[in-house]
Amino acid sequence: MNIFCILIIPVILAALPSIVKRPKALGIINACGYLFILIGVSWFISKTDMPVSFYKVFYIDALAAFFIFTTAVVAFATAVFSIGYIERDMAGLLISRNKARAYYTLFNLFSLSMFLAPMAADLAMVWIAIEMTTLASGFLVGFYNTKASIEAAWKYIIICSAGIIFALFGTIIFYYAASCAGVKTLNWVSVFSAAEGMDKNLIKIAFLFILVGYGTKAGLAPMHTWLPDAHSQAISPVSAMLSGVLLKTSVYAILRFAIITNKCVGVDFSSKLFIVFALVSLGVSAGFIIIQKHMKRLLAYSSIEHVGVIFLGFGFGGAIGTYGALFHVLNHAVTKSLMFFGAANIIKKYRKDNMNTIKGVIRSMPFTGIMFTLGMFSLIGMPPFSIFFSEFLVLMAGFSRGLYLSSGLYLFFIALIFGGILYHFSKVLFGEKPDDMKKAKEGLSAKIAFVFLFILMAVLGLAMPLFLNKIILSSIAVIEGV
């Protein structure tokens, strides 16, 4: 039953700005709502037996629940961080009071669509939910109405809409294949059960369409061109959502279709495609990270890298690779949100985005600086943080399957990115702060968001909570089609 709460709370919160006028009060209510959702989701996945379905409209198995949990974590952190961020934007006269209220409406519509995508039982409904995410977040990317942000938003909605048309094309071919095999529906359970009887060629073509279509939205290179612009121009809390969970929603959609494809034509087909796209993404992101000047753009390219790692994990496959990939979905979401919040604070304080001219962050804003440093170490995959372990699992899966070339390339790109990020961010973090700059104190909401994400990041690296372990293991069972 509390599944409906997950959907109803964002709907109520989206309507709330028409009643509550003060942005700060709105922000606090918003954060409470998402805290409630997070608790509800955690309780749901630890207590309920999956899969759960409601009237063939919603169907939640372990895999879906895992992605819902990831979304809930990032949405909560973002909701908390937004309180202070929006207040400062208003104090700085960057946005008006009405605009601040519009932010909360859009934010809730955006997260609603992202909760909806994994819950939908129908593959076409998944498509609709993902298209909704584009439309809702388009306004958040173009939020400041500057030339750069409108340009980014335009590119974002146009490229993703074109991409998503291909995904729908793939879905239609899947539907045709299913109806030839006797199932005239797109309900995921029925399609899956009929998978073996489907035409193999048709499914292969359809999956290619799906991978290109949703891959555009997931940020796989070479369809990633909208991503750096959108992530760097979006209002900062939303950058975290875009990077942390929006990309993952499309990953989820691709996985759903991959499961059907695997059952029909064998694992090899999707696995090879995943590995190729993943390595291209890693290579492209490594190149752009090294030559990058802008902080948020660097983080955006790092998202492409991590999506690459996730797909590499699924491509290498096996229990280890899949475990690593799923674990990485959560780890990247947590760490990247923390980094975007840090970057938001830094850019606010220094009023510029160019990393060559920002210096001494640790001295000028100690709390953010230290969090940002720790986040950076996590992002590049240093132990004992969680990303190290998931990246390591992916590598292990590659070696255990004997894919030495792919694993070698993976290691090489990761090492390049390690160096690149360390080089750029250490310039920003260390050194003397500008003389005329005062030490800054962060607001309470930012601190709560940072601490929450940091605890998750560190705890997941040290010990795996039991309910998460359980949900990931049952997700692996879903992915392997047992």
Partner: protein, 210 residues
């Protein structure tokens, strides 16, 4: 049935060759009308109420509302009507014919269908989708990109009805709503672009590089 398919593909060609945005919108309206007739034809043949509703929605949204909305934008922005071409009409037309040929080869070689009618309609729908993508990529004005998107969507609709006799009814309705909402949002962004940049030439949007 074939006459509708021919009409749809020909209208896609005329959009590729069009130099002015008004004629682009006009061709889109005619293409949607052909799509409507094809759906109506199927509805009469199969006597399904749902198909009649889908055809009605098609007429309302794609033949009337969306083209009107787009022409309104053209009028209100008082802009230069030239679509902005990276590739001249003749070369574009060659590309479009080539895309159609490719779609046909792709359909016959890779996908094994039972009926000939299905091969032809799937090839037509794939080629319309590809031509839509072509318009999105090779035309510079924001408005022509929106029309490219709509052409892609028309191709998609054709594929759905050609292959599987349409998507499940509920899905079809929601997709219509979705297209409608997207077009309105595209329109809002076009107004914003026009206000900030005083033009809607997307090839000149290049503040963000690398």
């Amino acid at each position: 049935m074939y006459i509708f398919l021919i009409g749809i593909v020909l209208m896609a060609y005329s959009m590729v060759a069009a130099k002015r945005i008004t004629s682009l919108i006009f061709s889109f309206r005619i293409q949607s009308a052909f799509l409507f007739l094809a759906t109506l034809f199927m509805a009469i043949k199969e006597k399904g109420l749902e198909l009649y509703i889908v055809a009605g929605l098609l007429l309302l949204l794609k033949v009337v509302l969306i083209p009107n909305f787009l022409s309104n934008i053209v009028k209100k922005l008082k802009m230069n009507e030239y679509v902005g071409m990276f590739l001249n009409p003749l070369a574009s037309l060659f590309m479009a014919v080539f895309l159609t040929y490719l779609s046909y080869v792709f359909t016959t070689r890779i996908i094994v269908f039972k009926a000939e009618a299905q091969v032809i309609s799937f090839a037509a729908s794939l080629s319309v989708t590809m031509i839509g993508l072509f318009i999105m990529i090779f035309r510079m004005k924001a408005l022509s990109q929106v029309i490219g998107f709509l052409v892609m969507e028309n191709g998609l609709f054709l594929a759905a009805s050609a292959l599987a006799g349409g998507m499940p009814f509920f899905v079809e309705i929601v997709i219509f709503m979705d297209v409608f909402v997207s077009v309105i949002i595209f329109g809002m962004f076009i107004y914003k672009i026009n206000k900030l940049f005083t033009h809607i030439d997307v090839s000149k949007l290049n503040t963000l590089r690398r």
